[in-house]
Symmetry: C2
Subunit: 342 residues, 2 copies
Amino acid sequence: MPELRKDPVSDRWVIISTERGKRPADFKVEKEAEKTGFCPFCEGNEDKTPREIISIRKPGTLPDKPGWLVRVTANKFPALIIEGDVNRKGQGMLDMMSGIGAHEVIVETPEHVMHLGDMPVEQIEKVLWAYKQRLIDLEKDKRFRYILVFKNYGSQAGASLAHPHSQLIATPITPRYVKMELTNSRLYFQQKERCIFCDLKEQELGSGERIISENEYYVAFCPFASRFPFEIWLLPRKHYAGFQELPDEERSQLAIMMKDTLSRLKVTLNNPPYNYVLHTAPNPTPRAGRPDYWGTIGYDYHWHIEIIPRLTMMAGFEWGSGLYINPTSPEQAAKFLRDAIV
Amino acid sequence: MPELRKDPVSDRWVIISTERGKRPADFKVEKEAEKTGFCPFCEGNEDKTPREIISIRKPGTLPDKPGWLVRVTANKFPALIIEGDVNRKGQGMLDMMSGIGAHEVIVETPEHVMHLGDMPVEQIEKVLWAYKQRLIDLEKDKRFRYILVFKNYGSQAGASLAHPHSQLIATPITPRYVKMELTNSRLYFQQKERCIFCDLKEQELGSGERIISENEYYVAFCPFASRFPFEIWLLPRKHYAGFQELPDEERSQLAIMMKDTLSRLKVTLNNPPYNYVLHTAPNPTPRAGRPDYWGTIGYDYHWHIEIIPRLTMMAGFEWGSGLYINPTSPEQAAKFLRDAIV
């Protein structure tokens, strides 16, 4: 019997089509065609990208020269542009705004081919450091309401370059999905004086059937109303609204969990294309240390990372309804991921 | 300069990346691999599908035998199942419902290979007739809140069988995207005592820059805040909330417009994969003829068909934000489609 399930955070229903009960081997993952030719993200080609914004470098090396370990630059083909004011205007009943924003690339390693799950923990830490620094810097820009950090791995997941990289886009509006999560988290807090994610985490840890792995600071699980087969949420156990709050001493634990989770995904599903998205509070992010923390918009949010392997196709039904049909229950998916040998 | 634009109906912002300004030839459309082998939708294989629900047949032929021109059956692998009650239950903070619904297939023609734009108008009329009959029948089922009719064309658009067919899924909830459109249409009506789609149609006809084609009863245009390159909306000029209201005498005009629009898409973009979705009022649909018409939920809605060619990839940014980056402005897209020779 199929089930309709509702995600408590986004208020989104999904159809869990248990009969179909697709197992990992039922998903065909096409082998990525090897991309040869010039790569602007490889060491030595620093002059082929916009100038470097921040980096971690070997001692004695210069910006925009070889010797970096992680490197952030503006996107050469930005979806939104950084210079200008946010002008709002109407045209009859239609509304528009100038396309102001930041679009940056975080090159994760000088190595051209490298799965994040195969990187040394220290390298992943550097990537996470870069995310945090860019969020802290960009949230100061009063024009931006939100900063979305994401990664596309594999051409089927929208990556146009194979070299390991993440991106971020800062927008002058709070994006639609983010707004829904914020609204529902706030509503929940108003009713209960508790964070919806903290409660969800407790319930998931209690039942255990959707848990993939956990350590002292983080927990990874397949959400109850997973839109996609093998969807994973990675959540800090402590309540932090914004990723900017991530204490330096917890960063290595997060890197360990990301490595573990993405390795499990790679092993279980034969190196599938995937996206991950950092879901964090909007700007300006409330900080736990601030005296006004529990009274600021967004304090009732809880940052987390959502990982989506790209195994199924969006079709007319999903486009028209926003209702997803997931052929693998999260309980099954979690078991496969839990049992993976990494 | 890129632009942020908001769709007035769904309240959805999109990024129109005018710099990228992708033209039809910039989109690579892969040629569909020819699928040989057994087809359960071909004439003579009627016993390989569930029994026929309705059909249009040559005189003297029998149900579930050859001789049909359009044929509707249940989906052999339904996402939701028809038998049972809609049971709602909670599990701690999580909510679920039994997966009750209808999932049907409308086989559009006995011919195995046929683009809808190449069908005779009379054949398309038969398909539209079938949509209407199934909506009228299924809306009587009190368990269903909504019926979504859609078509997937091409494997990249999610079609698993090449034989021309549409599908419908009736759900015990009003899907998320539908609900947003209904909420906004209602809000607009409450403010203005006018239908938002009627106003939008007038503004589009007035400016003309996004219009593709029109006839006495219908208008096709690229919406101002198109999520996807070459997205098309096909709207009746008269106000009808539900597709069930479509008068028989207007059906041929709609068939002509569908043929015209889909042919333009095929010619302009080299036969791309596409989805279309019928957006109609929820159950029970208010009818213009009924005395309570202008006081019923959904009367302020206006049915239309949304056509989405599948030319771009959803990536991490879209999954995380719900904000789409469209590399072709609707004004450019409409011009290409308008100029297409069909």
